[in-house]
Each structure stands twice: as structure tokens, then as C-alpha cells.
Symmetry: C2
Subunit: 221 residues, 2 copies
Amino acid sequence: MATDRKSPRGPRAEAKRELILACATRRFAHQGYQGTRIEDIASELQIAKGSIFQHFGSKAGLFIEVYKRAVAALPSWLSAPEEVRAQGFFATLRHWLERTEHLVAEDWVPYRISLIGAYGTDLEIKRELNRFIVSEDPYGTLEFVEWGQARGEVRTDLDVEVIASMIDWLTGALQDALVTEELDPGLFHRLRHQPDRQRARLEHFAILLESAIGARGERVG
Amino acid sequence: MATDRKSPRGPRAEAKRELILACATRRFAHQGYQGTRIEDIASELQIAKGSIFQHFGSKAGLFIEVYKRAVAALPSWLSAPEEVRAQGFFATLRHWLERTEHLVAEDWVPYRISLIGAYGTDLEIKRELNRFIVSEDPYGTLEFVEWGQARGEVRTDLDVEVIASMIDWLTGALQDALVTEELDPGLFHRLRHQPDRQRARLEHFAILLESAIGARGERVG
DNA sequence: CTCGCGGGGTGACTTCAGGTCAGCTAAGCT
DNA sequence: AGCTTAGCTGACCTGAAGTCACCCCGCGAG
């Protein structure tokens, strides 16, 4: 698929990498993966196309780098303000659910990149991205769940991985539905002009999650 | 993107459409979207490449058709055997969760196509597929949820759409994790040689779903 | 039986974007 | 100033999607 020449490593090269990444991030977010042409990035930056391949090996390599940065820039569960965390696990979870729409409005780009990584490339790339997510756990979901268990708010009768996966899958899908109409099964974009009903829907998901993983649902066994 | 010439409609043409779809389905399932070349399909069938474009307009058009068929071939929730349904909503849900691995082993192809449609193409195509899923509801999740509510097993204090979306998202993600290691955050493929532990994990998800949407969790108010 | 017609098939050709590489430029060292 | 080498360049290559002018063949009319 790609060149295996070692990419430039000097300090001068680092600055250029940043430039390329910034430009690529913007273009991927707006045009999608297929819609972004390496040639365009090069000409926007007034550099040669070959240069980009020198640095990132391939279009896929460039996207993977863009993705890692974007995802790392998204907030982790436990990075909520102290006073929110003090109110507990589900308050923290609600805090992020409610903030998602604001955060998306403020800076749409990393959410969009994360979404394009999830759905808009191909399985080869997806495998790579998934490896990254699993090994880095950038949102710190596992830690978050363990924290909730330690506080006695989250059930402890099921494997942490199972609970964390459920949270990741559900909140990920929710986020995607909020970011892009294409992925919304009619839950939010159909209520574009009724923000209070949108918020009610988010609260419904919070209720579902709380019922699912809250310690109250625990089975005696 | 594609040709807009009207595709052949005669009865003779129909047979050829079927041939192309069958071959394309197999190749998409095995090689993925990007990895499948129209040229190869044509030469396998001993027909001209142009012929395929005549029928389906573009590679994307061909895939969308393949996807619709594959998804329509998957079982809907309420198509479970009578004796299973008689045991109720969550028994039916468990029935499908447990059967997924068998069904996948028996005929991997439609699951794989559904997965490739979900993650392995691009957002343009995904929009089209999502429209299909939303408008056709091929698994009948909405109906299934209403049936569960009518039996008094599923909570009625939240919108049906919200509950149905949760089921679709979660069981979809589960299915994908079972079908393809690339999408598994380590829940199943790591336990490849311990089928009983895999089954336990599935049961854990069933428990989570039951806690989430069961009528027991309903809030008074 | 032949002729004309049109649905459908054909494959060489065009386009276009990712990827390559032999040579070049310039920054830094001696 | 001369040497070395990291990093840049852009013409070129490749490979796959998509196009289209032409052909073929089945069929009904004469």
C-alpha cells in the first residue's frame, strides 16, 4: 500500500508535519476521506505531493495520524470539572452527554474526524484505528467505570470490559447521530427546532444507561 | 459519480442482474468494498465490465443493491419460532443473541456485507444505506419493542424510538464484534478457545439490556 | 426467409488520484 | 568554500472506475 522509506525525523521536519496535519485535518473533516485529495493538500500548502508521502507513507497513514490527534484532543470522562465529579458517576456521564452538543458546535472538527474514522474509510484502516482505541482507551472508559464501581454507583456483578464496551458503543453512536444527520435514525435532526425535546431524548439515554449499569439493577447471585 | 442511463428492465436482463449480484455479494464479503474490482466480477462471469455499469450505474450502486438484499435476508426479531416468542420479549432477544454465532458460522456472508456497509465504504454510501435501514426497519425493531411493551415486559416511560435505537446500536455492535476481529474490543476473539466464557459475555449483554429497557426499571412519576 | 429494429452487450479508451523515484536544493559541519 | 546528507520536488507510473461508439442477436412484420 505505501512507501516504507523512513519518514523525516529532524526538528525542522516536525514543523512541516504539523502544517500538513493541520491542513489535512481540516480537509478530511470537511470533504471526508475519499473526497480529500493529497494533491489539494499539497497545493494549498505550496509543497510537493511527494513530500506528504515522504512524511506519512500513504493517504491512509496520514489519516491515521490525523485521527489519533483528533481523538486524543477529545475530553476523557474523568476530565470533567471537580464539582461535577463530586456529584458522582451518573452526574458526570450526564454532564458529557449534555455538553456534547455544545462541544460539537464549538469545535466540530475532532468529532467529525472521529466519525469519519469510524465509518468513512475502509476496514483496513478501521483495524488500525480500533487497535489504537483499544490500546490507548483515549476516553478512559475503563477507568471511569472502575471509578463508578468504587463509588458504589456502578454494578460490579458484570465484567468491567462489558460495561465499558456498552458505554463506548452507545455514547459513540449517540455522538455520531448528533454530529451527522446521515447517521441519525431520526432521533435528533428531526427535532432540529425543538432543542428541549432533543435534550429530553439525551436524558432518556442517560436513564437507560443508569438502569442498565447502575448498582441498583444488580442481581443477587 | 455514476451513469444515469436507465438500466435494462426486460425479463432476460433480470436473470443477469441476479448473476451479477450473486457474484458481487460473494466478492464484496470476502475482499471488502475497496478490495473488490468490477473488472474481476466481469471476468469471473465472462461478461464485459461495461455490462455491470449498464445494470447498476456504478460500483456504489452495485454495492447498495447487494447490501439491501443481504440485510433483507437477515432474520427479523419477531421471526423467531413460535415457542420462543411464547416465552416473551427477553427470551426472544436472548434467542437471537445466542443464535448469532451459529448463524454467522452457517452463513457468514450477509453479516459480513452488513458490516462492510456499516464501516467499510464511505459516508456517501453510508447515507444511502442508513436511509434504507430507517425507512424499511428490516429487523423490525420498532415492532418488536411495541410487542414487548404490549406484553408488559418493556418499559413504556420512554419513547419507542429511543429504546429501539439502543437495541439496534448495541446488538449491531455486538454482531460486528462477533463477525470481525477488527471490530472487537477484545470481548470475544480473545476468548476464542473458551466458548462458555464467550456465551457468558453475551448473557451479560442480555442482562444489561434487560436492566435498561425492562419494565422493572421503570421510574414512577 | 429476410429485413429492420431496438434492447442489451462489448472492450478499447479516458480520467483521475494514489504512489514512486532519480535528481536537486539548501542547511549545517569542517 | 567544499562536502554531506536530510529533506524536497514534480514528472511519471499504475491501476481501477467509468464512458461510449459500435456490434450482435432475438423477434415480429412483411
